[in-house]
């Protein structure tokens, strides 16, 4: 790998672009309008083409205005067709952006001799060459970095200015309206931000990366946090990270297989997707892994408590000992799983190994007593409020006993015998 100043600039431009997109992107994702970002970034194309045909020049301001106007038109048409034409919003979006995009393609094809943008550039952008595109008085800063940087600053400015309003409209549009915030105004402001960001980013990184950066970083952040401010910050971070990782993998990964490299914009999109998958699997609050582990742990916890319960009941009923060979069938688990549970309990000191058998330790007995108390109190409670047959009560109580807090237990009452006639063990103090 041969990292040069150009590569650094490519990452900087990509990062600025990704961060700029992530700002409106958070609101789009929260308001379930992600695909408006997709639709608008497609319709940048006709906007630019029209601006070019009208002005006859590649004046960036004209193109910006053209794209923003067509972007707003898209948002307006989607809403109009949806409400006037009684179509669902997805179809309405699909119709508007495909037709406008097709229109843009035709225009571009007509103007192809006069303007040096072609469809491939629309998708891929030209981030690899962005460094060469410098203004004479740009202090060596590529134009792409300036444009995307300005857009990022503008987006952050509007975001901070209307922070409250965006937050409230994102979470509860009805509440926003009742608070005197005009949802229509906020909607079109968001659409303007989206369109302007899309057009600023589009030339350097192409429309696909724009779509990815609108949606994927905020969606990733959404899996990691519950708070709006953190969500915005994380989205920015994920976007920037995706830009760096994307370019790095674009110039390295293909070389492992003997290829020279691949398109940076595409790789940045894939990198953001990779980060999304990462968060999806490993998010500390809701990731697949955490959920899986938690489930395993809960199952183990319940099994351990059930084992303790059996030990306690055997002690209560007679002076004989628990036959560990009978436990698997009684608990409906395999003997391997049970062995693991017993081992765990031994290690925790809840049960102790005597010469011929296992029995409860002092702390194990206390825990088991609490459990059985909860169980029998739940039976009393359920029997009182929802009369059912005895088997049913036992079944329900065995599930509830594991989740009973001290407070719940104290609310369950203070009966001395359960509906089956067994005594409710009295509460133990630790």
């Amino acid at each position: 790998m041969n990292w040069t100043e150009i590569d650094t600039w490519i990452v900087i431009i990509g990062a600025l672009c990704a961060a700029g997109c992530a700002v409106p992107g958070t609101i789009l994702v929260l308001r379930r309008m992600s695909l408006m970002g997709d639709a608008i970034s497609h319709t940048v194309l006709p906007g630019i083409a029209i601006a070019f045909l009208v002005t006859g020049s590649r004046d960036p301001l004209a193109m910006l205005i053209g794209a923003v106007v067509v972007g707003l038109l898209t948002a307006f048409l989607v809403q109009a067709i949806q409400s006037l034409g009684k179509i669902d919003v997805g179809a309405s979006m699909g119709i508007v952006f495909t037709v406008l995009f097709a229109f843009g393609l035709v225009l571009m094809r007509q103007a192809i001799d006069h303007v040096d943008i072609d469809p491939d550039c629309v998708l891929n952008g030209a981030i690899e060459f962005a460094w060469f595109d410098q203004n004479p008085d740009g202090w060596g800063i590529p134009r792409g970095a300036i444009v995307n940087g300005v857009m990022l600053v503008a987006n952050l400015f509007f975001m901070l200015l209307f922070y409250k309003e965006f937050k409230i409209t994102a979470f509860d549009p009805a509440l926003a309206k009742s608070q005197g915030i005009n949802p229509g105004f906020m909607h079109y402001m968001l659409m303007t931000m989206t369109a302007a960001t899309a057009v600023a980013a589009f030339e350097t990184v192409g429309s696909i990366l724009v779509v990815a950066m609108f949606i994927v970083p905020p969606a990733t952040a959404y899996l990691l946090t519950e708070r709006y401010g953190v969500l915005v910050a994380l989205s920015l971070g994920v976007g920037v990270l995706a830009a760096g990782l994307g370019h790095l993998s674009a110039i390295t990964v293909p070389t492992w297989f003997g290829f020279s490299g691949t398109t940076t914009a595409g790789a940045m999109a894939v990198a953001s997707g990779g980060l999304f998958v990462f968060a999806w699997a490993l998010s500390p609050s809701q990731g697949l892994l955490v959920r899986f582990l938690h489930k395993q742990r809960t199952h183990a916890h319940i099994l351990a408590e059930d084992v303790l319960g059996i030990f306690w009941r055997v002690e209560e009923r007679s002076q004989s000992f628990v036959q560990t060979g009978d436990l698997p069938s009684a608990l409906g688990v395999s003997s391997r799983v049970l062995k693991k549970a017993l081992h765990q309990l031994l290690k925790q000191g809840e049960i102790i190994q005597c010469t011929t058998h296992l029995e409860l330790s002092q702390s194990g007995r206390m825990r088991a007593t609490k459990l059985v108390r909860s169980h029998r109190l739940w039976e009393v409670y359920l029997d009182k409020h929802y009369p059912q047959d005895a088997n049913q009560l036992h079944h329900s109580a065995s599930r509830l006993e594991h989740i009973t807090t001290e407070e719940m237990q104290s609310n369950l009452g203070d009966e001395n015998t359960d509906p089956h006639g067994s005594p409710v063990p009295s509460d133990v103090e630790e």
């Binding site: 009684k86 959920r291 938690h294 489930k295 809960t298 319940i302 409670y381 359920l382 409020h385 929802y386 009369p387 059912q388 047959d389 088997n391 049913q392 036992h394 079944h395 329900s396 599930r399 509830l400 594991h402 989740i403 009973t404 807090t405 719940m408 609310n411 369950l412």
Partner: protein
């Protein structure tokens, strides 16, 4: 523990140990009951008590966390032909391009079977069903041009067109006009005369004794069930709708957090 205990072969619907959870939070707990044959049965309970869920779990529309449901002693999968279902009106898009007769004909689809078109006989049966709910003159009206009550009657007619033995209706009386309410009552009493079993999710407590024979009072668990005159008492109503359920719903929240189910 004998799972099959207390199951009746003759009961149209016997539910054993049914637990249903949405996103791991239980909405129905250990429901265990037999529904008697040939009766009009109301399912009542406060919002979120799991009334609709009970019906949906019986009909395999929502997955069960545990428990089983038998229709005349056999699992639902084998007895589908015996069951007709009236979903809540809001569950579908009424802008769908179809007329009233088309919707009612859907009740015949499973009898007709795969890939075959609807026949003349089915159309006659569908028209007959529309007639029974007083909607025959609207047979060819687009469904989006019907009033809410008329749409409800179309759904009812679809269930009638199925010509089943057990009927499940999810809030058929919700915000309907007086004419529709009378039509539904008429249909219900017709069905009772023919010995069908009808289970209706109902929200209007005042009309329970008037319309129904049997009542299931539900609030996450079955609070009471039996003949209306026996169990539809102030005491049971208080238990069903009163504030005594905090412990159970607290437990449900904790269960959701701990993912004990599924």
């Amino acid at each position: 523990m004998p799972i099959e205990a207390g199951h009746s072969e003759t009961s149209p619907v016997s539910i054993h140990d049914l637990t249903v959870a949405y996103h791991r939070k239980p909405v129905l707990w250990d429901v265990d009951l037999d529904i008697p044959e040939g009766k009009l049965v109301a399912v009542v309970g406060p919002n979120g008590a799991g009334k609709s869920t009970l019906i949906k779990a019986i009909l395999d529309i929502v997955p069960r966390a545990s428990g089983e449901v038998l229709l005349y002693g056999k699992p639902f999968k084998k007895q589908r032909k015996l069951v007709a279902y009236v979903p809540q009106r809001e569950s579908v898009d009424w802008d769908f391009p179809i007329d009233a007769l088309g919707v009612v004909l859907m009740g015949r689809y499973s009898t007709i079977g795969w890939c075959k078109p609807t026949g003349k006989k089915d159309k006659l049966l569908a028209m007959d069903a529309l007639e029974r709910v007083g909607m025959s003159e609207y047979a060819h009206r687009q469904i989006n041009q019907l009033s809410g009550g008329q749409q409800q009657r179309v759904f009812l007619a679809r269930a009638l067109a199925q010509d089943s033995t057990i009927y499940f209706m999810d809030e058929p009386f919700a915000s309907v006009d007086a004419a529709t309410e009378r039509a539904i009552i008429q249909v219900l009493s017709d069905l009772r005369e023919k010995g069908k079993t009808v289970v209706v999710v109902h929200h209007d407590l005042q009309t329970v004794p008037e319309y129904f024979d049997h009542v299931i009072m539900l609030n996450m668990r079955v609070v009471a069930h039996g003949p209306v005159e026996d169990v539809f008492t102030n005491d049971n109503l208080k238990k069903t709708y009163g504030g005594r359920l905090t412990l159970l719903s607290e437990a449900a929240d904790r269960l959701a957090k701990n993912k004990v189910l599924g």
